[in-house]
């Protein structure tokens, strides 16, 4: 948990506090980035997110949870990265060549299908869906992170799920 002491330390640019904040939150940021921009760019974008966090820490007013603010910076960074068009070739994790040994872990072909389906939907819908399903945010937190009205979160999740179902069906998935 990123507490007030860590935040205060980050505000005065203390390296120890910055490192603590990183240790407490880098896994969730990286996890979101892998799903949003793909494995090959996830490290770079995660790095950018933390540089932004340290640069903008004064702007965190404490009205919401720190995590929600962090997800907002992270989602923004991911969406910007995708908009820049540097990576049109978003490749889901398991489409990449894997060695025979790694394939043991990737036995479940459902994983590959859902990753491919995820890579096909609109990035903003993807962010909303991932924040809900993987990060477990509430609708209010998603609304704050993505900066959309809370009342529209449900309809977007409806759309995300239906589009995912459609892509899965196109990929030959049978429930």
């Amino acid at each position: 948990m990123v507490d007030a002491a860590v935040l205060a330390g980050c505000r005065s640019c203390e390296r120890g506090a910055q490192q603590r904040l990183y240790e407490l939150s880098h896994r969730q940021v990286y996890r979101l980035m892998v799903r949003m921009v793909g494995l090959q760019d996830a490290t770079d974008v995660t790095q950018q997110v933390f540089l932004q966090v340290f640069r903008k820490i004064d702007q965190f007013a404490g009205h919401s949870k720190f995590e929600t603010w962090l997800y907002r910076l992270a989602s923004n960074e991911a969406l910007q990265h995708l908009r820049k068009g540097r990576r049109w070739k978003f490749q889901p994790l398991t489409q990449e060549p894997v060695s025979r040994h790694a394939s043991e872990e990737d036995r479940n072909e459902n994983k590959e299908l859902i990753e491919r389906a995820l890579s096909k939907i609109d990035p903003e819908l993807r962010a909303i869906f991932v924040l809900r399903e993987i990060e477990g945010l509430t609708y209010r937190e998603i609304a704050e992170a993505i900066e959309i009205p809370e009342g529209t979160v449900g309809s977007r999740l409806n759309r995300a799920r239906r589009e995912l179902q459609q892509h899965l069906a196109d990929l030959g998935w049978e429930p």
């Binding site: 990286y30 790095q47 060695s99 790694a102 994983k111 859902i114 399903e133 995912l164």
Partner: protein, 280 residues
């Protein structure tokens, strides 16, 4: 509530983000509507599949990279003296004298990655790969291949991509098995990378490439030359592991994760014995 209304609120219902009274109305509808119930089951399946996804851990070196960036901002003003080969020379000299002992004892000296070549960012990435390789070669391999344009090839077919038969197309010495062969387009060069296993299950990576790449790949990690079989080999001491590179015919071979000079000598001898041209 009709089907359309239920469908509109289905996500909110599924996510538990709906008022209790609406919830009970929806439950009544779902109890007698197969279509809406099927949609709800679809949401559940997608949710289960998504939650089952696993994410690899971020590289351990990520914090160091961030720190470096944080440091660079104030440093950009004061002209920091770059580290040069000259400043490293005394240390390298001392290392050269002790390398035989170091090889035997496996006591390695950690040296941070400093980009010396033309592709500083690549040097950092390659450093991460090398660092990861020591801990989990298979995971490091996946991350490495994901970074660059790479293709899994049959070693005999690699010639179609690189214009030559790589050494591994002729097989490997006894006690080694080939796990995979990739043609990888890195910023510095296109190489053929073969992942091999020893009989004890440990992993070795063999790169074949056109130019000498030890500086580009390993930055300023300590190097020393030693004779292996009939060749001068460059040994690079990495954090907890060893790499070796030598000229083989018109190209260069670099092995990552080598055990000792004896292993390199054996590999050099084997490649020399098995260099007869293969039919194209």
């Amino acid at each position: 509530m009709n089907c359309l209304e239920v469908q509109e609120s289905l996500a909110a219902y599924f996510d538990g983000e709906i008022a209790a009274d609406v919830r009970s109305i929806m439950e009544t509808h779902l109890g007698r509507c197969a279509e809406c119930t099927r949609d709800l089951a679809g949401f559940k399946q997608i949710s289960v599949m998504t939650r089952a996804l696993q994410t690899p851990s971020p590289p351990d070196s990520l914090w160091a990279q961030i720190e470096q960036q944080l440091d660079q901002q104030p440093l950009a003003v004061s002209a920091e003296q770059p580290r040069t080969w000259a400043s490293l020379a005394p240390r390298l000299f001392a290392l050269a004298a002790t390398v035989v002992v170091a090889l035997g004892l496996g006591s390695f000296i950690y040296d941070s990655w400093i980009a010396q070549g033309e592709h500083p960012r690549f040097a950092v990435e390659f450093g991460q790969y090398v660092d990861g390789f020591r801990r989990d070669p298979i995971a490091a391999q996946q991350i490495f291949l994901a970074k660059y344009e790479s293709q899994l090839v049959d070693p005999q077919q690699a010639i179609q991509h690189v214009g030559y038969h790589p050494a591994v197309a002729r097989g490997l010495p006894e006690g080694y098995t080939l796990v995979s062969t990739h043609v990888v387009k890195m910023p510095c060069c296109t190489c053929v990378q073969a992942l091999c296993k020893r009989s004890d299950g440990s992993t070795l990576a063999i790169f074949e490439h056109d130019e000498n790449q030890t500086t580009e790949w390993f930055g300023d990690s300590p190097e020393t030359m030693a004779a292996c079989h009939d060749k001068q080999c460059c040994f690079v001491q990495l954090d907890g592991q060893l790499a070796a590179s030598w000229r083989q015919g018109t190209r260069h071979i670099t092995m990552l994760g080598v055990e000792d000079a004896a292993e390199v000598s054996q590999m050099v001898a084997w490649m020399d014995e098995n260099k007869a041209p293969l039919p194209d």
